[in-house]
């Protein structure tokens, strides 16, 4: 029973590019020049007559399953409430998607508030999702875009151990690691030395850096998760919604000093679109969906898509029905 799952896992080759925080990797300068100049052309024509209050919307996403899933969930909620939705999913990475959004080719995209903020200002990123969302809104106001309500769930950097390690060494939170650090082989990305979110965070937890036994593997990658499962390493840096965590029953250590950026998910909407609809009822629909999306739900849905090869549209539909968001 175990081997086919291991094989399926290995062959899926899911690499969650851009899904959880890389820290300092993005280029803030690229964003500012494009797009902001496009005035909301419809501003004067949008006296919201109640029939025109459900203007067709173009929804985009980044090019990995979790972003597509969130876009699909938002899209289906809107469709169920009478909106016409045009999907432009898989636009690329954040660096590629932001100019497309700024140029007005899509109206809504799902975004991770930590990394999304990091694109504009890495210095303001914190472990508090609401603060990240507020700071992101400050950066986006000039672009005439609005951040709607955030999900409780987040796809952030997560340090995880196997269940047996957690049980034997009584590990539940990052602070527990310092006492047993020499007994562990650490799976850390090779940029850890220079990354404050990695080596910096570990030092905050009282870990002597670099650890004596260490393997350099890509954070959140399949080899990292496979190496943890295969006991070549005892601790791995993964993404908190990575299917492997559920699949292999890994234990995610609580980041009790909030060293990692909070990566809650929220829809970003262009203001010129919001001017065409009844903003309060539009936002209420999407916020209700976001509010139900916990880290556990997000991980479970990820397993459905990336491991069980279910279709994103179907997974979104089933989840929305189960949550009572769409009848």
């Amino acid at each position: 029973m175990r081997t086919p799952r291991v094989l399926a896992f290995a062959t899926t080759l899911v690499v969650l590019l851009g899904a959880c925080s890389s820290g300092g990797g993005s280029s803030p300068s690229a964003a500012s020049s494009t797009g902001a100049s496009r005035a909301p052309a419809s501003a004067e024509a949008s006296a919201p007559a109640s029939q025109a209050a459900k203007a067709p919307i173009r929804i985009g996403s980044d090019d990995f399953y979790e972003s597509k899933l969130m876009a699909e969930i938002y899209g289906q909620v809107l469709e169920a409430n009478g909106y016409t939705v045009e999907r432009k999913l898989g636009l690329g990475t954040r660096e590629q998607r932001i100019p497309i959004m700024n140029a007005g080719q899509v109206d809504l995209v799902p975004e991770y508030v930590g990394s999304g903020l990091g694109f504009y200002d890495t210095t303001k990123i914190s472990g508090d999702g609401a603060k990240n969302a507020a700071a992101l809104q400050t950066a986006l106001t000039a672009k005439q875009q609005t951040v709607l309500g955030i999900s409780p769930g987040q796809d952030s950097n997560a340090f995880v151990v196997r269940k047996d390690t957690a049980d034997t060494l009584h590990l539940t939170k990052m602070s527990d690691l310092a006492a047993v650090q020499t007994q562990l082989t650490w799976g850390l990305p090779s940029n850890c030395d220079a990354n404050p979110l990695c080596s910096g965070a570990l030092k905050l937890y009282g870990i002597t850096y670099p650890p004596a036994k260490r393997s350099a593997l890509g954070a959140g990658g399949v080899p990292m998760a496979t190496a943890l499962q295969g006991k070549a390493i005892d601790l791995a840096e993964l993404c908190s919604t990575q299917p492997a965590i559920v699949q292999f029953g890994f234990v995610q250590l609580t980041d009790d000093k909030a060293t990692q950026p909070a990566e809650n998910i929220a829809p970003i909407v262009r203001d010129d679109y919001l001017a065409k609809v009844d903003k309060a009822s539009f936002q209420a629909l999407l916020d209700a969906a976001s509010a139900k999306m916990t880290t556990e739900e997000l991980t479970k849905l990820g397993v459905e898509i990336a491991v069980n090869n279910k279709d994103v549209v179907e997974v979104a539909k089933t989840w929305l029905a189960a949550q009572g968001l769409v009848k």
Binding site: T3, V6, L7, F9, A10, T11, L13, G24, G25, T185, G187, P189, S190, N191, A194, S215, A216, L217, G218, G221, V222, P223, T226, A227, Q229, G230, K231, A232, I233
Partner: protein, 257 residues
């Protein structure tokens, strides 16, 4: 560019586990092991298929599937199994992560050029020579050892050179699985953004330098192994040992010895 020179001049980059000498050694070990294993598999099969002409289609096509699978996949697919087998067979899990999968991928990468060149080398031998050998009463094994292998050796070593070049270049991506080797300079550099460029360039220079040196050595070996009569005549100077009566270079493909 000056940063790259500075990288090479920094004594810290010449010492310890992550120093150039150790990484070079690791690179040679993983590449050498892969090529050795591939030779042990591909050479006997190639000789059998080439000599008998039996199963050529199957062997060549199977080997070529190996060419079609990207080396990265060839590393990651066996990874769960090499880790799973660690406690069963009793090697350290680290070996199952940093050596075995990379070794397997390098072996599969080197098999196709070796197998195809061995087969092609043997098939290129003039049928009349083999018939003449049979006529003289040589056994099949003697025909293989005394006629076919010597005449095919240059082509076989040519395949060996191709395989070696590919493996040395590709062993670089073993760094994805926390492996050692010169790929570490490239991957560690890549994950450090702008400041990692000197390390990336240095890694690339070292890998290509290693590949060129090894290829030069093998080209000398190939030259030596080629029967004199089959060596290409040099323009400037006739082959010193050519035994043709009038002193002119022996034409290529001539069977005179």
């Amino acid at each position: 560019m000056s940063d790259v020179i500075a990288f090479f001049l920094d004594p810290a980059n010449w010492q310890g586990t992550s120093g150039i000498p150790n990484r070079l050694l690791e690179h040679l070990v993983i590449s050498g092991a892969g090529i050795l294993a591939a030779t042990l598999i591909a050479l006997p099969i190639g000789l059998y298929v080439g000599h008998t002409g039996r199963g050529a289609g199957i062997a060549i096509n199977l080997a070529n599937i190996g060419r079609a699978i990207p080396s990265y996949a060839m590393m990651v697919i066996p990874l769960p199994f090499t880790l799973l087998l660690a406690p069963v067979i009793g090697y350290p899990p680290d070996f199952g992560l940093k050596f075995l999968p990379i070794f397997l991928a390098m072996t599969f990468l080197a098999i196709p050029p070796l197998l195809v060149s061995t087969y092609a080398g043997l098939r290129s031998v003039d049928r009349e020579l083999i018939e003449a050998g049979r006529g003289m009463g040589l056994r099949e094994r003697q025909i293989l050892a005394r006629i076919e292998i010597p005449l095919a050796s240059s082509i076989i070593v040519g395949g060996f050179r191709t395989a070696t070049l590919q493996v040395i270049a590709t062993a670089t991506i073993g760094a994805i699985l926390a492996g050692g080797g010169l790929g570490r300079f490239i991957f560690d550099g890549l994950s450090q953004g702008q400041s990692g460029y000197p390390s990336i360039y240095a890694g690339a220079i070292l890998v290509s330098g290693l590949a060129i040196v090894v290829d030069l050595i093998l080209s000398v070996v190939q030259q030596r192994l080629t029967p004199r009569a089959l060596r290409k005549p040099r323009v400037s100077r006739p082959p010193r040992g050519a035994r043709s009566t009038d002193g002119s270079p022996v034409p290529e493909g001539s069977t005179a010895r």
